[in-house]
């Protein structure tokens, strides 16, 4: 191989490597659609990341005693890896660390249903879900 094409190839790779982290992790039409649906269900025009943060870190009553909070499994920092009660690693919840988060509506519905029942003993409201997603998308 000649020197010239090699230079072009290296330059392209360098550009890709440098460019990759600049791309905004947050923007995703599928996630936007999920949040938009929660807005419609809750009848509000915006969600609050601060309220979502408070809810995420709060100790709740009404659920199983072993799991009083989202942080029981997801840890106090959603950018960290979490752990299920039997030790399986959970990928970070923060979208900045895990761009795949909240892009599959079925998965979002399944885990809100399961975990709200386990932690709060009831389903979460559209308002609560929207706040949490907004919080986890913001960090």
């Amino acid at each position: 191989m000649k020197l010239f094409p090699n230079l072009i190839l290296s330059g392209t790779l360098l550009a890709v490597a440098l460019g990759a982290p600049i791309q905004p992790a947050q923007a995703d039409p599928a996630r936007d659609a999920i949040i938009a649906q929660f807005k419609a269900q809750a009848g509000v025009s915006s969600f609050s990341a601060a309220r979502g943060k408070k809810f995420f870190h709060a100790k709740h009553a009404g659920g199983k005693p072993e799991t009083p909070s989202c942080t029981t499994c997801h840890t106090n920092d959603p950018r960290n890896f979490g752990k299920t009660r039997v030790g399986k690693v959970i990928d970070p919840m923060a979208v900045s660390r895990n761009p795949q988060r909240f892009t599959d509506p079925k998965k979002v519905a399944k885990w809100f249903r399961r975990n709200c029942k386990t932690v709060l003993g009831r389903e979460c409201t559209a308002q609560e879900k929207g706040d949490i997603l907004t919080y986890l998308s913001s960090i």
């Binding site: 752990k83 009660r85 039997v86 030790g87 399986k88 399944k110």
Partner: protein, 399 residues
């Protein structure tokens, strides 16, 4: 092997035996000796001692996690015994079965003479010792046959994996253990016999199994002289070894029926594997899987509910590959459920018994974290096989 040494075993030059007429302290430096145990016999004896010791320690004390070492020791023991049997028909005077296997009448007479303290000194095996050799060799062969049957039936591997059911393998395991105790008993008698004969004839017999030489005394009872054929013996051993290995490998390649399904259904692996290791469907019966899948909204203290379509799809797959469809050890031992918690594996009597010795801190350690995390130590947990050699408790968990 040294040809010359073996052909010289007998007879000794008569002009040198006169020294043996003197009263003889066994330390006499001028004592004439003759070669008795050839290099093959001595190597065979001590290698077999090593192999049987490893087999006994791994089998009786260290337990199933040492299965691989146990199998290696057993295989070596069988190879040695088979080679010894070949040498028993091709070796020199003292190696030949024909030289030391006595008929019942001669054996009884020898025992009676021992009781009357008038028994002659046998330079090779005496009639009682000769029978002991046959019993030891036979016992080791029986252990190998039963061991291979257990390996095939219980662990679904080895030359008999294709042919033996778990139930048969499990029953033969009891026989294998009895035979192992029997072998220990024979070894105890063998050692006792060697000590007795050492004292009776005032010669250190265990030492002669190292030097190969025994004192030459007048009146010694010698076996008929025979030439050794080390080259033909080696040829037969090599040919037999090659044939045995080929047959064993060919049999081990045969497909084993009723093995657990592999790989796991991708949806199953993902949906169940999100929270815990995906337990292999062959670990529980269809009935217990149905019970479990009917109560997902309250699944060991958590809501693990699924949409009905996925739930039904997974249940059908689990039932289709449940314990009834395989013949593995885990499928059989976990079949006995704990009536108080039938859908739990860690609550079963077998799980509790086999994990009793493991300290609590191991289960609470970081790499293990929970009793249900089988794969932390059982490297093949997801295959449903749980082969004992694949157990490895993480070093970090033992601190």
């Amino acid at each position: 092997m040294d040809d010359a040494e073996m052909q010289l075993t007998f007879p000794m030059p008569t002009n040198r035996t006169t020294i043996a007429n003197k009263p003889m302290p066994s330390t006499d430096r001028n004592m004439t000796t003759r070669p008795v145990w050839d290099l093959f016999i001595r190597s065979f004896h001590w290698l077999l001692v090593t192999a049987i010791t490893i087999g006994a320690v791994t089998g009786f004390i260290l337990g199933p996690t040492w299965l691989r070492m146990h199998l290696i020791a057993g295989t070596i023991a069988v190879v040695l015994v088979v080679a010894r049997i070949i040498w028993g028909f091709s070796g020199g005077s003292f190696a030949r079965f024909a030289g030391f296997v006595a008929g019942p009448r001669e054996t009884l007479r020898h025992l009676a003479e021992l009781r009357r303290a008038s028994a002659p000194r046998h330079v090779g095996h005496n009639p009682a010792g000769g029978w002991m050799i046959l019993f030891l060799l036979g016992m080791i062969l029986l252990l190998a046959i039963t061991g291979t049957t257990v390996l095939g039936g219980v662990f679904k591997t080895g030359p008999l994996g294709f042919a033996v059911s778990y139930d048969l393998g499990s029953a033969v395991n009891k026989v294998h253990k009895l035979l192992a105790w029997g072998l220990l008993g024979l070894i105890a008698l063998h050692i006792a016999g060697a000590i007795y004969e050492s004292l009776r004839t005032r010669e250190n017999l265990p030492l002669t199994m190292i030097t190969g030489r025994k004192q030459a005394r007048p009146g010694d009872h010698l076996p008929p002289s025979r030439a050794a054929h080390p080259r033909s013996a080696a040829l037969i051993m090599l040919a037999g070894g090659a044939l045995g290995t080929a047959i064993g490998l060919a049999l081990a390649q045969k497909p084993v029926p009723h093995l657990p399904i592999t790989p796991l259904d991708p949806t199953y692996a993902q949906e169940c594997g999100d929270c815990h290791i995906p337990f292999h469907p062959s670990l529980m019966s269809a009935q217990r899987w149905r019970m479990l899948m009917a109560s997902l909204d309250s699944h060991f203290g958590e809501d693990a509910s699924l949409d009905e379509e996925t739930r039904k799809k997974l249940e059908d797959w689990m039932v289709a590959h449940a314990a009834e469809t395989v013949d593995t050890k885990p499928a059989h031992v976990f079949a006995q459920a704990n009536p108080e918690n039938p859908i739990s594996l860690t609550a079963t009597p077998f799980w509790k018994t086999t994990h009793k010795a493991i300290p609590d801190k191991v289960f609470k350690s970081k790499p293990v974290f929970a009793r249900t995390n089988c794969a932390a130590c059982h490297k093949d947990a997801e295959t449903g096989m749980f082969y004992p050699s694949n157990i490895e408790i993480p070093a970090e968990a033992q601190k």
